[in-house]
């Protein structure tokens, strides 16, 4: 693998190619809305998106903008603001291939990729219609048990790209994730990770032993782009809270296709202003 690169936001987003299997984190974890804006501006088509394990406004925008062909998620919701309107409309229109899953199945399938093994077994699931719908999961027998012990085997998921946003990165591609360890799981499992950061610092994030364990090392990071307030209108760790008023405006506007388009124009318009 070539050395870690520091790129412009648009150049970084251009590394997400049409048809990619793209892994994104939940709304509370470190969502790169800045890169989401760049993806929409470029009109990258036929994305297959894996929510790790849920998503909200980010996936709703990607779906509404027509970028998503397939989706795997344990849930898509705007939380207290209600259903994700563009997701719901796309399901109704039949324009989105949806694969329902459950949160720990996403984590486990990524953990299989982390370990470089072809599958992991997972408890639960048996008797659910989620399992009934998943032709790619296998109901198997625990090979070590003496009595009957059915258990579900999940194939490893290796995303083409993991895309997320962090508070800081350094010039070696080390990025601070703190206790948001699902970002590490995503990055470990994915072929490539593209990361946006509030700031890029000139010292190594691994120098301080008291904080080193909260760092995802550059080993897993292909490229970093600086993107101040890059999670807006979502929040980012302790740095800034979600912009509740803007998210409420989105939830209201996106109830119609025309309203969504108008909101999206405003969102894309912030590129030059940002």
């Amino acid at each position: 693998m070539s050395a870690m690169e520091i790129l412009s936001l648009d150049t970084l987003a251009a590394r997400v190619t049409p048809g990619s299997l793209l892994a994104i984190p939940p709304d509370y974890s470190g969502v790169s809305m800045a890169a989401t804006r760049a993806l929409v501006a470029r009109g990258v088509k036929d994305l297959r998106v894996l929510c790790v394990p849920t998503s909200g406004v980010q996936i709703d925008i990607l779906i509404g903008a027509g970028l998503v062909a397939e989706l795997e998620a344990a849930a898509v919701t705007l939380g207290e603001l209600g259903l994700a309107p563009r997701f719901t409309a796309a399901i109704k229109a039949g324009s989105l291939a949806m694969r329902d899953t459950t949160c720990p199945a996403v984590h486990a399938a990524l953990q299989a990729s982390e370990k470089g093994v072809p599958f992991l077994p997972l408890r639960g699931l048996i008797g659910s219609d989620i399992l009934a719908q998943r032709g790619d999961w296998k109901l198997a027998d625990n090979p070590f048990a003496t009595a009957d012990d059915p258990i579900v085997f999940l194939p490893a998921i290796q995303p083409d790209v993991a895309l997320f946003h962090v508070t800081r990165a350094d010039r070696d591609g080390n990025v601070w994730i703190g206790r948001r360890r699902e970002l590490a799981t995503m990055a470990h499992a994915a072929k490539r990770s593209l990361v946006t950061a509030e700031e890029i610092v000139d010292f190594s994030l691994l120098d301080d032993e008291t904080t080193a364990a909260g760092v995802l090392p550059g080993l897993y990071v292909e490229a970093v782009a600086e993107a101040p307030r890059g999670a807006w209108p979502l929040g980012l760790q302790d740095l800034y809270p979600a912009d509740d008023a803007e998210l409420a405006r989105y939830a209201e506007a996106a109830r119609t296709e025309a309203g969504f388009r108008a909101w999206l124009d405003g969102f894309l318009g912030r590129r030059s202003a940002a």
Binding site: A74, T77, L83, I91, D100, C103, G124, P150, E182
Partner: protein, 244 residues
């Protein structure tokens, strides 16, 4: 829902958590979250709460997987699930009404239910809306089944169903709900009329116990302050908390 009803539900759910050591609460769950924090306040340190979405009341540090991994190890005693539909066998549906792939009405999705319902011993189903639309004879999609055949590893499952009208307990052997108590303003008949599934009912029907003054004091004080970190609007509007 008004404040008195909210407080009744929170106190009733907190009673269902008595004896638990570790209670986890999922996202977007202000009433279960308040109940868990009230149970903790009453337990004088014996009960631990892990509330997703909170910074201060969530000690997980290993990412999204940790709740699920710890549940599979038996470290979580109680959890809460809801459902767009819940049926008389305690099957829950968080995916949609109608038929896939287009559905008549699509819900957000199953979250961790298809797993935690199997592994957490005391799962409390909570759905405020108690109508035949929600409490149905048979769910359209099983996000997670209420019971399993004996060979399936299942230390967990439904303990009770709490709604805006009543509390049902669940009998795993018989795979049936039983009316445990009705909230003020309801009768056995009014609950029956609003429930789409059949259930057992004793000769006399108990009233859900009114919140004790000590519990209300804890709820409106310490618990409202704790809840406000994660659910500020809920704490202000439904627990009457005044901003500090």
């Amino acid at each position: 829902m008004d404040r008195a009803r909210t407080e009744l539900l929170i106190v009733a759910i907190a009673r269902l958590l008595e004896g638990c050591r570790t209670v986890a609460v999922g996202a977007s769950s202000p009433i279960p979250g308040s109940a868990a924090l009230l149970a903790r306040a009453k337990s004088k340190g014996a009960l631990r709460v892990l509330m997703l979405g909170s910074r201060r009341h969530n000690a997980f540090t290993d990412g999204g997987r940790e709740l699920f991994d710890s549940a599979a190890q038996g470290r979580i005693d109680a959890f809460f699930l809801g459902g767009g539909q819940i049926d008389g066998q305690a099957n829950i549906n968080l995916v949609g009404i109608g038929e896939p792939p287009r559905w008549q009405q699509r819900f957000p999705g199953s979250f961790g239910s298809a797993y935690l319902y199997f592994l957490v011993p005391r799962v409390i189903l909570f759905r405020e809306e108690h109508t035949p639309r929600v409490l149905v004879p048979k769910v359209d999609f099983i996000s997670s089944p209420g019971t399993s055949v004996p060979e399936v590893y299942r230390p967990g499952g439904p303990h009770a169903l709490v709604t805006g009208r009543c509390i049902f307990s669940f009998d795993k052997e018989r795979c049936r709900f039983s009316l445990a108590s009705i909230h003020p303003g309801e009768t056995a008949d009014s609950v029956r009329a609003q429930t789409g599934f059949d259930y057992d009912e004793g000769a006399t029907v108990l009233q859900t116990m009114a919140p004790e003054p000590g519990n209300l004091e804890l709820l409106r004080g310490r618990v409202a302050d704790e809840v406000a970190e994660t659910y500020p609007r809920f704490a202000a509007s439904l627990l009457g908390r005044k901003a500090a």
